[in-house]
């Protein structure tokens, strides 16, 4: 199974007006399929950080994007698959539109086949409640500009998130 079936190679198509919390119609520029095992977290972080760097993000934001993906994967491993090691996860990356090859940001979609839950029930905890755990969703929402969970039509959950480069975020009133 792949999260998005390859279509015609329209990689250069601008999708400036496409919602930042939706799956683009174009195929992902990068897709990684991994088992629900913590030992693959570091590879996923390195990949996201390296791609984000190529898209123009500075080192600090690259690290934060890698952190957001790490937290999302951890939640799937721990809660979605209940630490089962044989769950499948797909991590897909796109640039947000492009002007002469320069992306305006990054879109990240993470699909799984874990048990479905109501997206409204996925919330970060109150930070005043100091206790171990429950920080992942809060961190994801702090780091990313747009975050949305949805049930996948074929089963499992999907997390859609995006972050614009600072100049684009300023234009659109997003977070930096």
């Amino acid at each position: 199974m792949t999260p998005t079936k390859p279509q015609s190679p329209t990689m250069e198509r601008l999708d400036r007006d496409f919602p930042l919390d939706a799956v683009p119609h174009t195929p992902p520029h990068v897709v990684v399929e991994l088992f629900s095992q913590p030992r693959y977290l570091s590879g996923a972080r390195d990949l996201v950080s390296a791609v984000a760097k190529r898209f123009g993000f500075d080192d600090a934001v690259c690290g934060q994007l890698a952190l957001a993906v790490d937290e999302a994967l951890c939640n799937i491993i721990r809660h979605g698959y209940d630490r089962r090691p044989d769950g499948r996860i797909w991590l897909s990356l796109w640039p947000v539109s492009e002007d002469e090859g320069q992306p305006h940001g990054i879109r990240i979609v993470i699909d799984d086949l874990a048990a479905q839950i109501e997206p409204d029930h996925i919330k970060g905890r109150d930070l005043d409640d100091i206790r171990p755990g429950g920080l992942g969703v809060f961190i994801i929402k702090q780091v990313m500009d747009k975050v949305r969970y949805e049930k996948r039509p074929g089963g499992g959950m999907r997390l859609l998130m995006s972050k614009l480069l600072p100049a684009q975020a300023d234009e659109q009133g997003g977070k930096r």
């Binding site: 913590p38 030992r39 977290l41 570091s42 972080r45 600090a60 690290g63 934060q64 952190l67 790490d70 937290e71 951890c74 491993i77 721990r78 930070l127 100091i130 206790r131 171990p132 755990g133 920080l135 992942g136 809060f138 961190i139 702090q142 780091v143």
Partner: protein
């Protein structure tokens, strides 16, 4: 990840080396629990050689903080690298933990 533990006068220093994420958080948790069981006056976690930590690692430290508070052990984190400090700031836990820049300071801060 490796974890080095050594005792000083009234203090125990736990110094993990390497990324602290879900794959190793339990290992760090075990080292911290063993250090806390000795009821030292001060538990210093030196993060100088931890280039990355996710919320699994942070949760381990929050748990350690809660236990140490019950037994009057002072928990001090020191020498955080930028990426690690960033997660404490994002989670607004930099105000909850005692965080100092060096192990020398961690030994003396009140």
């Amino acid at each position: 990840m490796e974890v080095f533990v050594h005792s000083m006068d009234k203090a125990v220093v736990v110094a993990p080396v390497g990324d602290v994420d879900l794959s190793v958080a339990r290992e760090l948790q075990g080292h911290l629990k063993r250090a806390i069981e000795g009821k030292p006056a001060r538990l210093i976690v030196n993060l100088g050689k931890v280039p990355y930590m996710d919320s699994s690692g942070v949760a381990t430290l929050v748990e350690a903080m809660q236990i140490t508070r019950k037994q009057a052990t002072k928990l001090v984190l020191c020498d955080l690298q930028d990426k690690v400090r960033s997660i404490f700031e994002i989670a607004r836990l930099d105000r909850v933990f005692t965080i100092v820049s060096s192990q020398e300071e961690a030994v003396t801060i009140q």
